[in-house]
Symmetry: C2
Amino acid sequence: MAEGAEVARRERLDRDRVLRTAVALADEHGIDAVSMRRLAQVLGVVPMALYKHVAHKDALLDGMVDAVLAEIDPPDPALGWADAVRGRILSAREVMLRHPWARRVMESRAAPTPVVLAYMDSTIGTFLAGGLSVDLVHHVMHALGSRIFGFTQELYDNAPGPTPDELAALGPEALAAMQQTAAMFPNVVAVATSRPHDPGSVVGSGCDDEFEFEFGLDLLLGGVERLHRRGWSSSGAASV
Amino acid sequence: MAEGAEVARRERLDRDRVLRTAVALADEHGIDAVSMRRLAQVLGVVPMALYKHVAHKDALLDGMVDAVLAEIDPPDPALGWADAVRGRILSAREVMLRHPWARRVMESRAAPTPVVLAYMDSTIGTFLAGGLSVDLVHHVMHALGSRIFGFTQELYDNAPGPTPDELAALGPEALAAMQQTAAMFPNVVAVATSRPHDPGSVVGSGCDDEFEFEFGLDLLLGGVERLHRRGWSSSGAASV
DNA sequence: ACCTGAACACCGTTCAAGT
DNA sequence: ACCTGAACACCGTTCAAGT
């Protein structure tokens, strides 16, 4: 029943303690471990006690996301709009690395919370203060998408580029199967095993996620800067 | 028990019928309706009968994604690399609009299936055939991310720009609450209600998702073309 | 005001049995 | 070879009751 250090009994619940405990539980055991029943158990309380502090499970998840967003640095007012947005997004990325479950939770939420809206409002404000037109900012927010929260689809995380440790632990039949799979997708293998980065900056996978995140971000922000400098207005940006 | 037309009994199950029925069920009632138990009921079969054709629920979800990816057009060999990739991604987007649940399922999957790898392999092949370096293609695949499958985070889908129908159905107290919320996030409201598009092309929301998708895609592909023309090689693209 | 207990209607999945 | 039935260990949540 009791899981030792994790059980913190008799302290009178409040919403903050519920949310902080839920975040810690997700950080340690993954988001699937965050069930109303297990969270209650960690808090030393019966499941229904939680419902006095969060309306339902979705409200719990919203609260967890809000708690994570609060860790993101505000934009630096000393910087120009592009650097201010860039810096804040990189801060958001660090936060998301600390709470890797947050990406999937945010993607699963239907409506943004006031905290999410406040974050977006502040980011939009930085663009507008930089002189970008409302219409351009509209498109830019779409184009950046979830990048403004510091994450993207990390497609190559699970691609067939095994770490040396994994390779060593593999049996001969598993290795043969892997080579057969690799032979079927030569382009994926070529691109996944390319080492475009400074060898010193990357240890295992040959893939520097920080570099890739900034590459995509700068491709987008660079394009926006170019459009803005050319006095971009509504029509003619996309052509079929 | 029986839900009329949905129940198709006595036809001997096979994997294909299981997957096709699961896709149809998700299209009609959403992904949450796709439980092993409910899918079995629609097929007129006991839940455990499914396990002869899919190893477990995750394998069912993988199979559903594979079925959806099979609907995407192959790249047009008559086009240059940029237009070929662009056309295929727009085809993928149409497919995702037909199966809106597929985005979340793909995001939740841990490892890519062979069908996912084959799709990526073919897309990478188009870039390489166009003369882009392996290193550049590596970064480009990261930068495009889930866009190559035809979707992005659609942040504004649920932002506070209500449709006229919704507004009309609102009570006065709900309307007052909404105005209060709007007052707290003026930048979000300004950007969400901007009408940057040809008024004829958009009916309700003032937001043309097709335009936004292509805007972001072209910002990225345009940046890549520019890098490629300049003979881009590994270093110096991202600066801190 | 806050917490509890029992119950309801669901899940995915195992195991042993039927045909 | 394919399907069934009963059971196990979980879910989120309601309702009525305790202190």
